[in-house]
Symmetry: C2
Subunit: 462 residues, 2 copies
């Protein structure tokens, strides 16, 4: 598989393509459901009460899990932010859409506008679409949410530890006011050789409405915006992509949560997200939307272990963010749709890329036919009609397949330190783990099952 570089295509062309691709053969769903995806940033597999954390209290998520489907083998498509988000929205592995890693503040590019996002797909079905929260798929106007299928956007355009791009023309007037002059921002960059942390803009649509934004209020603001969007669209199908900025560093929580968690500020941010989830589910109940709304909660990748207590926990898994160990990819995931999804714990495999295909399927649309879509429709699993169609998963670092899972078996062709860093050389003998029996990837079975090593190694040729 080769890397396709993002191309800057005019959005008009994108729209034509999209219309051609999506309107061929689908059956319009009679009562297409609302779809809400709540996507956390760097939340680890072990960071919620219902996934075993002892001191982070998440009563609303615990309840959501008890009422819905709790996944125990759910994979984010990538172990870093931008690539993970691009895959969620396109249903494709990173080498296909070309967003292979992280977009930094000095990058002038973003998610290839030629990609078809879930928002574009659902919009074509008549959905109202909103992106609230962290975008991180390009901060220039042609890559921002409004250019990628979302009717509205409120949020921080990239990671909250990033700097302002002095070349970010659309934002210049707002950002480089007298208080935060271009010189001042540049002086941070040059003298300290690092971006001015915590100084990120809040965008509404393509406009900066606050700079620097008060990060301690982000979770609250996102939540309020989510409630408003839901209220305004209660009579039409809607797609809400709520991408929390937390618990990515630097960590901030509002006054109501700051200092409240035994876990410290990291726990405060998650407990505030838990509050937010509770408020949103309550709002759906109040508006009597629960019988036609799928809410899916998950995370973009595992915890950032090298920042120590400012990062999260991978629970019993091995490794964290940046890595193709389980702890980098496997994340908490809860699907909630009372009456439609039965209370279940499932150890069936699924991934963020499947949310694209499943979302379109629920809306009665087919997936695009002019490109390879890696996502699968997991609605049979969600609705108790059968197992997950996902039987394999590919773990990429940039455009390299570092590891591959089939059934319960995972093979590693290259490994990294548990905390990240560059991959080592290709292993002469790959590592082989039985993830069902050994979720912590402790006991290499390569020498016991050479036939499996051979079979799974074929994934490198695909």
């Amino acid at each position: 598989m080769t890397l396709r570089k993002p191309q800057l295509l005019h959005s008009f062309f994108s729209l034509i393509t999209l219309t051609l691709v999506l309107t061929q053969s689908h059956l319009k769903a009679e009562n297409p459901p609302n779809i809400v995806i709540i996507f956390c940033d760097d939340l680890g597999y072990g960071d919620l009460g219902v996934y075993g954390h002892p001191t982070i209290q998440t009563p609303n998520l615990d309840c959501m899990a008890a009422e819905g489907m709790k996944f125990t083998q759910f994979y984010s498509a990538n172990a870093v932010c931008s690539a993970s988000r691009a895959s969620l929205l396109t249903g494709r592995y990173p080498p296909r859409h070309g967003t292979l890693g992280v977009y930094f503040h000095h990058h002038q590019t973003g998610l290839n506008p030629d990609e078809i996002t879930l928002a574009e797909g659902l919009k074509a079905e008549g959905y109202s679409t909103a992106c609230i929260g962290k975008w991180h798929l390009g901060h220039k106007e042609e890559f921002l949410p409004l250019a990628q299928g979302f009717d509205s956007y409120l949020g921080v355009p990239y990671s909250n530890d990033m700097a302002v791009d002095p070349g970010m023309s659309f934002a210049k007037d707002a950002i480089f006011s007298e208080d935060w002059s271009l010189e001042k921002v540049r002086s941070y960059d040059l003298k300290k050789n690092k971006p001015p942390r915590n100084l990120v803009p809040l965008l509404q649509g393509n406009e900066v409405i606050e700079f620097p934004t008060d990060q301690s209020l982000l979770t609250k603001k996102y939540t309020e915006a989510a409630l408003s969007f839901i209220s305004e669209n209660k009579d039409s199908p809607f797609f809400l992509y709520l991408a929390q900025t937390m618990p990515h560093i630097p960590l901030f929580a509002s006054e109501d949560f700051l200092g409240k968690s035994l876990r410290g500020i990291y726990g405060d941010t998650i407990e505030e997200i838990d509050w937010s989830v509770g408020v949103i589910l309550d709002h759906l109940k109040k508006l009597k939307l629960t019988d036609n709304t799928l809410v899916f909660f998950t995370s973009d990748n595992g915890p950032w272990l090298s920042v120590k207590l400012k990062g999260g926990s991978q629970g019993l898994l091995r490794g964290g963010k940046f890595t193709t160990w389980e702890g980098g990819h496997r994340v908490p995931a809860i699907a909630w749709w009372p009456g439609k999804i039965e209370p279940t714990v499932t150890s069936e495999m699924a991934s963020t890329i499947d949310l694209f295909t499943t979302g379109l399927s629920l809306a009665g649309a087919n997936s695009p036919s002019d490109r390879t879509i890696d996502g699968l429709d997991i609605s049979p699993l969600l609705f108790g009609k059968g197992p997950s169609p996902r039987k394999e998963f590919s773990f990429y670092k940039t455009n390299n397949l570092q590891a591959y899972r089939k059934g319960g078996w995972k093979i590693h062709f290259k490994v990294q330190k548990e905390t990240g860093g560059r991959p080592g050389e290709r292993l002469e003998t790959p590592l082989l783990f039985n993830l069902h029996a050994d979720p912590s990837e402790q006991y290499d079975q390569a020498s016991v099952h050479p036939e499996l090593v051979s079979e799974l190694s074929k994934s490198l040729d695909n």
Copy 2:
């Protein structure tokens, strides 16, 4: 604190002491509740669904936790079998009752009969008492359950990987039949220098009723016996101490569960225990006993890590069985009493030693006044009336205080390898962890908080 060696006192004397000690000042409870303690063997903190295990399915325990109180900071009093069990039953730390480690099959001693067990205490209050399952507090008649306050006993007298003691006079006739001659058993011992594994007797009262017992049927047999005991005593207060043999190695599950868990045989055994819990709770419901029965589920110590996949998982904690790392002592714990215990997740601290004091308190009895009891009455915590009285916990290996916790802080004076083994020398600078923020004991804070090191080191002088 000094070690008191077990003394063999006549049980008659014990009874007199008990009567004197317990009848001084207690108020008889009007409607004393039934108490059921389900105690697993080597079940790790991360081994249940509700504590984050991805492939061991425990729907009944998940439900029990959702309906009851799930503890996230609950400590077994010791990291090995016999000491842990002695502490549970006496409410005292090991150096006080003198059962400091594990009784092996060649040991001729057991829990000091002069100790007052929870069974004795409740019996004095008119409870019917049964011990079902693993005893492991001495396999000679004077130490067996019938001599320690239990009206009846069905189970294996020690660990299921132990050998038959050729000197076990009371069992000799039954065990050393022509099939399992003394010579044959001895030949295992001498030639292989290890006991004949899996060849353990099943006792009813003090009599061997099956040898070797079919271990694959133990969970079922224990469960059936538990149901019978509950049925027979439904009109009077009862205390059932159900100490599962599993998931201690060697691992066995019945036909219904064997090969069913994705986790392998280790998971099979836990899924069978989960079944057992479900059946027992259902039975209590059927008999309409739930409004007056406390069921407490927990484990004797953390997982046996050195046996690899035959042992369990400590989840996000550090270390396992045999150690004073969190993974050795912190165990799953669920309290269930519908209508009386609200659905809660608590990160308040509590321990198996508190079950003694709490059990007596619920029965309207005072704890013994002639000796130091380390257990505390956690009923205010259980019933939502206040925090746990437990603010500190002492981690012993034999009679050495290896670590000590106060509030969120834990100090280690000596450490072991995560998998066990002998403790090292006393550390020149102890290790200090903030367990609330750092449950995985990763980030030593001793140099940051020397004042806490000084304060917590005083525990060594007590």
